[in-house]
């Protein structure tokens, strides 16, 4: 699992980690049982604060996406589909939505025009979930 961390982004690092792991799990890239790198490994690899990684893992655990294995660290939970509410899945789109809203305002487009353009895209069946 390779995480991409941008320290200078407006999005705090813990949210970046939560967002990426959530997407990897929901896209099926990390099936249930996948072991996650330890907090120490992630922190050392990116020269970031281990507390930030712990915070992200704890949030993912609270959301039911990860489960703690005694003595083995974190792994992707078995039953994540059932326990991930739409509200939390929507949260992972927040940065993309903010960017969309910003660009739409710069182009002087109304909410109605945006919805009109977005609706047909939502009905498309995409073979892969887009990742950055």
């Amino acid at each position: 699992m390779t995480l991409h961390i941008e320290p200078s982004a407006p999005d705090p690092i813990y949210r970046q980690i939560v967002g990426q792991i959530t997407r990897l799990i929901s896209a099926g890239t990390c099936p249930p049982g996948t072991r996650l790198p330890s907090v120490r490994e992630v922190a050392a690899a990116h020269a970031i604060n281990p507390m930030t990684v712990s915070k992200a893992y704890a949030l993912l655990e609270a959301q039911g996406l990860l489960e703690r294995q005694r003595g083995k660290g974190m792994q992707v939970a078995d039953n994540h589909q059932a326990v991930t509410p739409a509200q939390i899945r929507l949260q992972t789109l927040q940065p993309a939505l903010e960017q969309l809203a910003r660009q739409a305002r710069q182009l002087d487009l109304s909410l109605e025009q945006l919805i009109e353009a977005l609706a047909p895209l939502m009905n498309d069946v995409e073979p892969h979930e887009g990742t950055q």
Partner: protein, 289 residues
């Protein structure tokens, strides 16, 4: 001293140099395990604040407290629990790197010689070279090893990254957070490299013209602070809005505000006001420009 008591504290610190006010009524309290990044333009008061907090400089008003006592009155035992890397170090230039570190090891009961040796090796420092023959960056690295090896309870670094190449900088960042995470140490460091701060800091303090303009948990600030574009045709109240952190007029008309969403009230914003998330750099520009 309770384990949750602040490790270091500024209580309404004011410091003047002739007609220049370097610190203006600065108060902040740093809890154990915090990694605090200090930001500000040159001359904003960062170094003076660190020197006052360490008891190296007396304030004109207010008090700095360290390990629960006045910073100016700490004893040798407290001093042995402090690590400090000033902006420039020119001590013991005539000594060899290895001899200097052996000398420091004798001063600190908690000196970790394994750590000192492994850092010397990883950073390719020749222990037989004289310190005066090292580059400024290498001298800085020796000073950082000296500060890290005793596993201090409080580590203070004044622009530790300024003279370092990007690879060593990353290594230094790793060692700093490891000290905090594994040993529960508290770290205060100043920097102009925002991405360094964003990687490792749990808290950020922004100084501007001697005042503390912003202090808080980095994640929380990024989550809660937003830039609001206030349109030209709508009147901006003279008094600060709820949650307002900063305001400045825009060249093209209207205002740019920084608001804390957790305290702001949507009803006080005009309909056409637009909200944008802020990077730390954006925030720096809004508060220190």
């Amino acid at each position: 001293m309770n384990h949750l008591d602040p490790v270091v504290e500024a209580l309404a610190l004011t410091k003047r140099y002739k007609d220049h006010t370097a610190l203006n009524d600065v108060s902040l309290s740093v809890a154990p395990g915090t990694v605090l990044g200090l930001l500000g333009r040159n001359g904003a008061g960062k170094s003076t604040l660190m020197e006052c907090l360490l008891g190296l400089r007396s304030a004109d008003n207010g008090q700095a407290r360290l390990f629960g006592k006045p910073a100016l009155q700490i004893n040798d035992h407290d001093k042995a629990a402090l690590g400090y890397v000033p902006q420039q170090t020119d001590s013991l230039l005539w000594m060899k790197v290895g001899d200097a570190l052996t000398f420091f090891a004798s001063l600190y009961p908690t000196w970790d010689s394994h750590l000192a040796d492994s850092l010397l090796q990883r950073w390719n420092l020749d222990s037989k070279r004289l310190i005066q023959d090292l580059s400024p960056g290498q001298r800085q690295q020796v000073a950082i090893i000296r500060a890290l090896a005793p596993r201090p309870r409080l580590l203070v670094l004044d622009e530790p990254a300024a003279a370092l190449d990007p690879l060593v900088r990353r290594e230094v960042l790793r060692e700093i957070v490891e000290l905090a995470a594994e040993h529960g140490s508290t770290v205060v460091f100043s920097t102009h490299i925002l991405s360094d701060l964003e990687r490792i800091a749990s808290h950020v303090a922004l100084m501007h013209e001697g005042r503390l303009r912003l202090y808080g948990e980095l994640d929380q600030l990024k989550d809660e602070l937003r830039r609001v574009r206030w349109p030209q045709h709508s009147t901006l109240p003279a008094l600060p809005l709820p949650g307002e952190v900063a305001r400045r007029p825009l060249a093209e008309g209207g205002w740019s505000l920084v608001l804390n969403l957790a305290q702001a009230e949507a009803s006080t914003l005009p309909g056409q006001a637009s909200t944008h998330s802020l990077s730390l750099e954006d925030l720096f520009v809004e508060l220190a420009a």
